[in-house]
């Protein structure tokens, strides 16, 4: 029992958010008479929130370094406009337009990272300027008009699904197969980790906690996959998001770059004196954020099937809120990719659920604001108490 309490206490941040997500989902399950759990709605949930999750992954890195990026909403609009002009007006092939758009995102990151890292202007100011600059450029590029429609191949970025190789009739069999494979991989990884730790004579968590944890995780994954299989299977968006989660979790947890990012945010002076080139770290984190914002911009434009001047308005605030709900600290040095994703899902489930039960946009904003305040307030309270 004591181990369980300790395990919970030490991971209060992570577990707390997951529990909050489960509770909120449960609340809406109750309020919507289970509509939010239908296969169709779960698929929608992913399609609606994919780009916010992508933005949250980029944003959490920025926030861990102790910075902020207010410009991503405008960058989303700008990249959508670039793609629209290239594909619709200039008939550039979709694959080439996508590459150009991603490079444009990287260049935006270079621009902002330069001012922040090497000139030393606070990121709040640089990206506030960026928010205006890129919104302005979007309006100029689109001449104030919307551009539509995009060709099907471009739309499939956000509305496509993984085809069923097994041709299931009512059930998307490939989805089930993938989820079983994923489950097996997770089981292997977990036990492999345990085995090496035992080899080195490290202390390991009791076997039963590992099994319970794994069982809950696998249950959630397979149930979710089964629901998706009842609809159209796995959306392309979900694939993109999962790839990003795996990649960035690995970078942040297991690579030298990840360590440098945490160290820069945790104590910049100490990081400098440890031989870390903190300016370079912050610069590349902004370049990375530009690339991910561009990807989100493409997903957003594909979903709307148009490039519009008002696209992505306030999106930066959703991404920032997701990161803070996910346990990151304003002062830097703290935060996880998984946390940011869970935070994004909390926001997404609330948006979706409140729309389903017909709460107006006014009260939606109001409630989301309070949830952000309470989530972070809870965090601060815990920290002060501990």
């Amino acid at each position: 029992m004591q181990t369980l309490i300790n395990l919970f206490k030490n991971n209060l941040r992570e577990y707390g958010m997951i529990i909050a997500l489960v509770l909120i989902t449960g609340l809406f399950w109750f309020l919507t008479d289970g509509v939010n759990f239908t296969p169709l709605n779960l698929t929608n949930l992913i399609l609606q929130n994919g780009f916010i999750l992508v933005l949250a992954v980029g944003m959490v890195l920025v926030i861990i370094t102790g910075n902020i990026d207010l410009s991503v909403g405008s960058v989303v609009a700008f990249i959508g406009a670039v793609a629209g002009v290239l594909i619709i007006n200039m008939n550039v092939p979709v694959w080439l337009a996508v590459i150009i758009a991603i490079i444009a995102g990287a260049l935006i990151g270079v621009w902002q990272g330069f001012w922040i890292s090497y000139v030393g202007i606070p990121s709040f100011i640089v990206t506030l300027a960026g928010m205006l600059v890129f919104r302005g450029l979007t309006l100029w590029l689109l001449d104030g008009q919307s551009l539509a429609p995009f060709p099907d191949s471009f739309q499939s970025i956000s509305s496509g699904f993984i085809p069923d190789l097994f041709g299931g009739a009512n059930l998307h069999i490939f989805t089930i197969v993938l989820s079983v494979i994923l489950s097996l991989v997770l089981v292997y990884l977990e036990f492999n980790k345990r085995r090496t730790q035992l080899q080195y004579n490290f202390e390991v968590a009791p076997l039963w906690t590992t099994i319970v944890k794994l069982a809950l995780l696998l249950l959630a994954i397979n149930w979710f996959a089964y629901q998706l299989a009842q609809n159209k299977g796995i959306p392309t968006v979900l694939v993109i998001v999962i790839v990003l989660i795996v990649l960035y979790t690995f970078i942040m947890k297991n690579t030298v770059m990840g360590r440098h990012i945490y160290a820069t945010g945790g104590n910049k002076k100490a990081a400098d004196l440890s031989g870390i080139k903190t300016k370079r770290v912050v610069f590349w984190v902004f370049v990375n954020n530009g690339v991910l914002a561009a990807l989100a911009g493409l997903m957003f434009a594909a979903r709307l099937n148009s490039a519009t001047p008002a696209a992505g308005n306030m999106l930066e605030l959703d991404a920032i809120a997701a990161v803070f709900i996910g346990g990151a600290s304003m002062a830097g040095g703290v935060g996880t990719v998984i946390g940011a994703i869970v935070g994004g899902l909390v926001m997404g489930v609330m948006n979706n659920g409140m729309s389903l039960i017909g709460i107006g946009i006014d009260w939606q904003q109001f409630i989301k604001g309070l949830v952000l305040l309470i989530a972070v307030g809870f965090d601060v309270y815990n920290k002060n108490k501990g």
Binding site: N10, M257, R259, A263, A271, L273, G275, I276, G333
Partner: protein, 516 residues
């Protein structure tokens, strides 16, 4: 009653584990300049914090009498109301406000919360005349030099009708002319009836202006010297300051000294902001393999600045000079280059410059040399645990797990983590800046043992310390710094506290190394 303006009787102040003040008595006569001297850590600042109410009544034992009345200050405001004003070493001025605004900061000339600008400026002008500052009261504080800023602080004190002025190292940051002006001002204020307590390391200044001198050592009053009739020599003061046996014990050390491994030649460094101020002046020194070299000096002598400027130019501007390792000239313009060349620097301020307090022990230990536990940039977390576990055992870091956050450790254990971190970089030259500051005697001994052990393995170790016994107890050879210059070099057998103290205070200059 006597004509003492201030009497502090049997003041005892304890911090967890340390007795900072032990039955200290201080008596200041009406209208005198009373100097308070002692080594770093002797308890001078603590005593002044007790007096001014920074440590409120009830957190210390003993009693304070001011003008014959017993005082029980709960905060600084109360002591200031009685006319006791303390000016700290780091000036408490707001750079973007004018001189006049600073003088009346927190004490504004006002009527019903509305500023009375005319009074503010006219009254400041009068105060500035008293301290001999000719600048307009509308000048911004950031536009005047440190010397003048010090005068503004005094004017601010005068605006509060100061009766007892306390100055903590007022001349530490000043050049000679400014220092002299300041001391003359103190003498003038004395004529006007303002008593003052002067805390200073500069013994020539002390013997120049003081009427009496109280010596503190290890939190105890040693003696009060009367300087009214006859001048007290600096030698006499030094004797009082250091007259004790080595109190902390040092592990036995049998040096096995090899060839010269690291050399610094003609090193010059300027202040990062005030670029005409030379912080390090033509310093040259060397260290041999297996040798422990101490660098002694008082606060502000430039020891940390010297070390940090060598370590990847982490401090200062316009750095010039040459570094040699194994006889070959090396470049170490960035910290990562310096680490690559085998230099490690353990900062004096472990919380600000040494550790990421919100990260765990093992990640702190490996941070400066992640290559050692990674393959093509991917970290092997198992190797990380093994390596940091072995350092934890070697240095006896007391913690339940390696996942403990560095911020939750005690000072001694934090210091061991920082030391582990730099041992992990496998350096050839290890610079330790105040390696035992603020840690208890037991942990000190363990750190000394590690330092000896590292030297035995062939590292060149440079120890910077403000504690004389530590420098004397550890080092095979000692360099002494004063105001940015090396003023002496002593071998273990010729060094004692008094000789080092003479070089430290810049008074014993028979041998001025590297000064042309």
């Amino acid at each position: 009653m006597s004509d003492y303006i201030l009497e502090m009787r049997e003041i005892t102040k304890t911090f967890p584990g340390v007795k900072a003040l032990d039955n200290v008595n201080l008596q200041v006569e009406q209208g005198e300049i009373h100097a308070l001297v002692g080594e770093n850590g002797a308890g001078k600042s603590t005593l002044m914090k007790v007096l001014s109410g920074v440590y409120p009544y009830g957190t210390y034992d003993g009693s304070i009498y001011f003008e014959g009345q017993e005082c029980q200050f709960k905060n600084i405001k109360q002591s200031e109301n009685l006319g006791i004003v303390i000016i700290h070493q780091e000036l408490a001025l707001s750079p973007y406000l004018s001189i006049a605004e600073n003088i009346f900061l927190g004490n504004e000339r006002q009527s019903n919360k509305i500023m009375k600008w005319k009074d503010t400026f006219s009254e400041s002008k009068k105060l500035l005349e008293r301290v001999g500052l000719k600048d307009s009261p509308e000048t911004l504080v950031m536009d005047i030099g440190v010397g003048k800023q010090q005068l503004v602080e005094i004017a601010k004190a005068l605006s509060k009708n100061v009766k007892l002025l306390i100055l903590d190292e007022p001349t530490a940051a000043l050049n000679e002319t400014d220092s002299e002006n300041l001391l003359k001002l103190l003498l003038e204020l004395k004529q006007q009836g303002v008593s003052s307590i002067l805390i200073s390391h500069k013994l020539n200044e002390v013997s120049y202006v003081s009427d009496s001198i109280t010596v503190l050592r290890d939190g105890k009053t040693i003696e009060t010297l009367n300087a009214k009739e006859e001048e007290i020599s600096e030698e006499r003061i030094i004797k009082g300051m250091v007259g004790r046996e080595l109190t902390s014990r040092f592990p036995e050390h049998h040096p096995n000294i090899g060839k010269t491994i690291f050399e610094v030649k003609k090193w010059n460094v300027y202040h990062p902001q005030q670029q005409d101020r030379k912080i390090i002046d033509n310093v040259s020194f060397h260290v041999k393999k297996g040798e422990i070299v101490g660098i002694a000096g008082l606060m502000g002598a430039g020891r940390t600045e010297l070390a940090m400027s060598i370590f990847g130019k982490s401090y200062g501007k316009k750095i010039s000079g040459e570094l040699y390792k194994d006889g070959k000239q090396i470049e170490a313009n960035t910290v990562s280059k310096a680490i690559e060349k085998g230099i490690a620097y353990v900062s004096e301020d472990r919380k600000t410059y040494g550790l990421n307090l919100i990260d765990d022990i093992k990640r702190n230990i490996t941070l400066s040399n992640l290559q050692r536990i990674s393959k093509s940039s991917v970290i092997d977390e198992n190797k990380e645990v093994i390596e940091s576990q072995s350092l934890r055992e070697r240095l006896n870091i007391k913690t339940p797990t390696l996942e403990q956050l560095a911020g939750n450790l005690s000072g001694g254990n934090q210091q061991k983590v920082v030391l582990s971190k730099w041992i992990f970089t496998e350096p050839d030259i290890l610079i330790l800046d105040e390696p035992t500051r603020g840690i208890d005697v037991g942990a000190k001994f363990e750190i000394y043992t590690q330092i000896n052990e590292l030297a035995k393995q062939g590292l060149a170790v440079i120890v910077i310390s403000s504690e004389l016994p530590e420098v004397l107890g550890l080092s095979d050879r000692i360099y002494v710094m004063n105001e940015g210059r090396l003023t002496g070099e002593l071998n273990k057998d010729e060094a004692d506290q008094e000789s080092v103290m003479r070089y430290m205070t810049g008074t014993g200059g028979t041998r001025n190394a590297d000064v042309n």
